[in-house]
């Protein structure tokens, strides 16, 4: 007898429909799984057999062939366990085969017959809806995650026995209750700007960066507050839209870091250590798996100690920064991972770290120039704002908070709304993503501003690339001030916040 089960395989961040066909016929008892499964799939043989037996089902002593179609695609992971088990049940008439027409299945089996959660359930649920299959059987622990997708029926089951009941009787257990936090709110607010003292100008720089989606580099001595400021950037970004929240949740689900309680509400904040490899940063590996850049999609990627990151890792960020996605191409598999994040980087100004405090800096001119040159390259080309963070003075530390995240976020949201309105229908969603034609159309300054910019260009203070960068930032500053026109004042402020295109002149 032949049975067909619908399930899905996960490739990168995409799902592919896989039809598990199970054929049982008389012959020497044997159980073979074909279809280019990886080791985990091959091991499913043992898990499925034990699970079925321990659940009170019969394991047919016949020749069983399970084929994961399409046969030319490699498949991996343990999510096929349930499909294979259901296929065997259906092919041996232990459950009605017709039931499998209305249920897709996805899950891992333990030897006891219990279902175990695995990654990517949200994506599978979305795929189920796209494939127009009415229902999805998933492990109970993941049912809530799957239920985020409307339009399909979710059956969260604990054991193979329950699976059998669902398929035979059609009785779908209720969804598990949402996880209520005990004690402090489970969604505790992230770090808030209200914790910051002093740092008036860095907060302004971050306000501008957040408002326009600009990448920003904070320079400063150790302990000056760069990391503290960076960690608060997600709190001043506008809240996730629903589409963004779904994307973020899907990514988290596929990466296995989803906490299983509703759509993500906070923008991701990823802070990889500087020893990370290129594939750790942008994705890779055999399957491939998403990297930190993707995990930071719609959020903030914080690179602390920027100069310590390996060159290959930084180079690997070139495409993600430029295009908003990373395409990883491996033999058979290729994956496209979205990487629209806001980059916040922090670095010391010089090897000893204290260039901003001339009395303490022990670096020579050559040291300083070499250090600045290290930072040049694809990353610096895409950083729109550079600001030096100084240690707050004693008075500043004693003063009340400089700003609150809520207040800054309100400004940011207002500015973002202006941009959304202006850029509706174009490929850009915020000022930082404007390309040359849009910059010409929307960010062109008035005459005084043009002259200022031309002067800076003539003086070699900005390169040709820097020219457009300054305009984008000026546009954001104008938006923050509620001005439709970009004036010389905005251009001047943007110039002040630019990175040096050449290594700056060094203290004698």
């Amino acid at each position: 007898m032949l049975a067909r089960v619908t399930t899905f395989s996960i490739a990168g961040l995409e799902t592919r429909r896989v039809t598990v066909e199970v054929d049982i016929r008389p012959g020497l008892p044997g159980f073979v799984i074909v279809g280019l499964g990886d080791a985990a799939v091959r091991e499913a043989r043992e898990r499925v057999r034990a699970a079925l037996l321990n659940s009170g089902f019969e394991f047919p002593q016949r020749r069983i062939v399970a084929n994961l179609a399409p046969a030319h695609l490699r498949k991996g992971g343990s999510g096929f366990d349930l499909a294979i088990a259901c296929g065997i049940l259906a092919a041996s008439a232990q459950v009605p085969p017709s039931a499998l027409a209305r249920w897709a299945v996805f899950g891992e089996l333990s030897l006891t017959g219990e279902l175990r959660g695995c990654r990517g359930v949200l994506a599978v649920a979305e795929a189920t809806r796209r494939a127009e299959v009415p229902g999805l059987l998933v492990p109970r622990g993941r049912a809530r995650e799957a239920a985020l997708v409307d339009g399909i029926e979710i059956a969260g089951v604990r054991t193979m026995h329950e699976v059998g009941r669902v398929l035979t009787e059609g009785s779908v257990p209720d969804l598990p209750p949402p996880v209520e936090a005990a004690g402090p709110a489970r969604e505790e607010p992230g770090p808030d700007l209200a914790d910051v003292r002093g740092h008036h100008v860095p907060i302004q720089a971050l306000r501008i960066a957040a408002a326009g989606g600009h990448n920003v580099l904070l320079r400063g001595a150790p302990g000056s507050g760069k990391t503290m400021l960076a960690r608060r950037v997600p709190s001043i970004l506008p809240p996730l839209t629903r589409e963004e929240a779904v994307e973020v949740t899907r990514i988290q689900s596929l990466a296995g870091i989803y906490r299983g309680d509703g759509l993500a509400t906070r923008r991701p904040f990823r802070a990889p250590h500087h020893s990370i490899s290129a594939s750790g940063l942008v994705g890779g590996g055999a399957w491939p798996l998403p990297g930190e850049a993707t995990l930071a999609h719609h959020g903030v990627l914080f690179l602390d100690e920027l100069s310590e990151f390996s060159r290959p890792a930084i180079e690997a960020l070139r495409q993600p920064l430029e295009d908003g996605y990373a395409s990883i191409i491996r033999g058979q598999h290729s994956a496209v991972f979205p990487t629209r994040f806001m980059l916040v980087a922090a670095t010391n100004p010089c090897p000893c770290g204290f260039a901003s405090e001339p009395q303490r800096c022990r670096c020579s001119q050559a040291d300083l120039q070499r250090y600045v040159r290290r930072l040049s390259g694809p990353l610096m080309d895409r950083i729109d704002l550079v600001h030096t963070v100084e240690r707050p003075s004693a008075e500043a530390l004693a003063a009340p908070a400089t700003a609150t995240s809520a207040a800054v976020r309100a400004d940011v949201e207002a500015a973002r709304e202006r941009q959304a309105h202006r850029l509706a229908g174009t490929s850009a969603t915020c000022n930082a993503h404007m390309e040359a034609a849009l910059v010409r159309r929307h960010a062109w300054p008035d005459e005084a501003g043009q002259r200022l910019l031309a002067l800076a260009y003539a003086r070699d203070h900005i390169s040709a690339r820097g020219h457009d960068r300054v305009l984008k930032v000026a546009r954001t500053i104008a938006d923050l001030e509620g001005s439709e026109a970009v004036a010389a004042d905005h251009v001047a402020q943007a110039l002040s916040l630019r990175g040096a295109d050449q290594p700056a002149e060094v203290l004698a």
Binding site: C350, V372, E390, E447, A454, A458
Partner: protein
């Protein structure tokens, strides 16, 4: 050519009909009646002088102009009407007319009359000045170096660019740029000088032939590095900030100083009038005749210690200006050009004759002010008023926007102001991200 006699000692106003002698330091107010009358006369006789010059050749102009009033009237057959008007000439009326046209008058006896012009054998009796008189004084005072830049009306883009760069570089080094506001090289030189003094940027253009002014846009204060290889000079200012201390430009017109000639150069004229000065030997409203051009060229040569010919065809008037300069004992410079270009015939010939090679403002400065003066003279921009407080704060040690914010400066103002100061070269950003005031 008759040499002018040194003016006699002052005497009260001479009765009509008598040949008047110039007065130095006399009790008479300046501009004196005699000079005003002379100026009026030359303007009145302009047509006849033209006729006479045509009959006897251009060189005769100098001879004619060297004649005193009565001799001149006789030489050109002035007629009784003119003689009568001459006798009736009223100083006050003349001054009112000049004033109505917005011109100031500086006569030979005025202390403000450029000293270098006195050495001309046929020095203009009076100069009508359009523009602020203090500026005229400063641009033409004794210690202020002045360089004349002359050349073809139909200059090539090479010539125009070089002229512009020369004007810019010299003005930035606090040297007065003198020229005739003619089409082509003259206007380019004026425009360059205006750029350096922070005047209208970019839109005031030179043109060759009938082309319009060069477009502004991003070409503004910067301008491409000219063929001379000079980048933007030191003292480029932000729009709206006129620099004190940078040299300016003087335009010597062939006709009256109250109207632009050529008419297409109206905007340049107005800019020069605003930021430099426009002078003429003739009174308001006098139209320019052909003889007026070589005549004013002698003033151009006379005002400058160095005359540079940028481009000139074989028989160009600029070559005559250079010749005049040489006769006055002034330096002559020329810009070499491609031998295949007819416009470089003039300068190349001058060079063969011993003129100094001028490839850029540094060469001109070396000639005008001594070797090595480029570095000494490039003006330090003055601190614009609205940034003075910020600049002082930075100089006193507030080395970053944050420090300025601590002092109470609004963040936007601190950021914008620092950017402006940096562009002006008044502050510098170090590798550590701190700002410091430049020396």
């Amino acid at each position: 050519m008759t040499a002018a006699a040194l003016p006699a000692v002052a005497e009260p106003a001479s009765p009509p009909g008598e040949p008047d002698a110039g007065r130095f330091g006399g009790g008479e107010p300046v501009p004196c009646r005699a000079c005003l009358r002379r100026t009026w006369l030359v303007g009145e006789l302009a047509g006849r002088i033209e006729h006479a010059a045509r009959a006897r050749g251009a060189r005769r102009i100098a001879l004619l102009l060297a004649l005193d009033d009565h001799a001149l009237m006789r030489a050109v057959d002035a007629g009784d009407d003119v003689a009568a008007a001459y006798r009736r000439f009223e100083r006050d009326a003349a001054l009112e007319a000049a004033d109505a046209a917005g011109l100031a008058v500086v006569c030979r006896h005025d202390a403000r009359y450029p000293a270098c012009l006195h050495r001309l054998p046929d020095a203009p009796a009076a100069l009508h000045v359009a523009g602020r008189l203090e500026r005229f004084e400063r641009l033409t005072e004794a210690g202020q170096p002045a360089v004349a830049i002359v050349g073809a009306r139909r200059g090539s883009s090479y010539g125009l660019e070089v002229a512009r760069a020369l004007g810019r570089g010299l003005a930035a080094a606090d040297v007065t740029v003198v020229s005739g506001m003619a089409l082509g090289v003259d206007s380019a030189a004026h425009a360059g000088a205006l750029e350096a003094s922070g005047a209208v940027a970019g839109r005031v253009g030179a043109s060759s032939g009938g082309l319009g002014a060069s477009s502004g846009g991003l070409g503004a204060c910067a301008g491409p590095a000219g063929a001379s290889g000079v980048g933007s000079a030191g003292a480029v200012a932000l729009p709206g900030h006129a620099l004190v201390g940078a040299g300016g430009t003087v335009a010597v017109l062939a006709g009256g100083a109250d109207r632009p000639y050529p008419a297409s150069k109206r905007r340049l004229y107005e800019a020069i009038r605003e930021h430099g000065c426009v002078v003429s030997e003739l009174g308001p409203g006098v139209g320019a005749r052909r003889w007026c051009f070589p005549a004013r060229n002698r003033i151009i040569a006379g005002l400058a210690r160095l005359t540079i010919v940028v481009e000139a065809m074989a028989r160009s008037g600029s070559l005559i200006t250079a010749e005049l300069a040489r006769e006055l004992g002034r330096d002559v410079g020329a810009v070499p050009g491609p031998v295949t270009s007819p416009l470089s015939t003039g300068p190349n010939a001058l060079l063969a004759d011993g003129a100094h090679v001028v490839c850029g403002p540094e060469d001109a400065l070396d000639l005008a002010c001594g070797v090595g003066s480029w570095a000494r003279r490039v003006a330090r921009p003055a601190v614009p008023e609205h940034l003075a407080g910020l600049h002082a704060a930075v100089a006193a040690g507030a080395a970053s926007p944050e420090a300025l914010a601590q002092l109470g400066v609004p963040i936007a103002a601190a950021l914008a102001g620092l950017a402006e100061l940096e562009l002006l070269g008044l502050v510098r950003r170090t590798a550590g991200g701190r700002y410091e005031a430049t020396a």
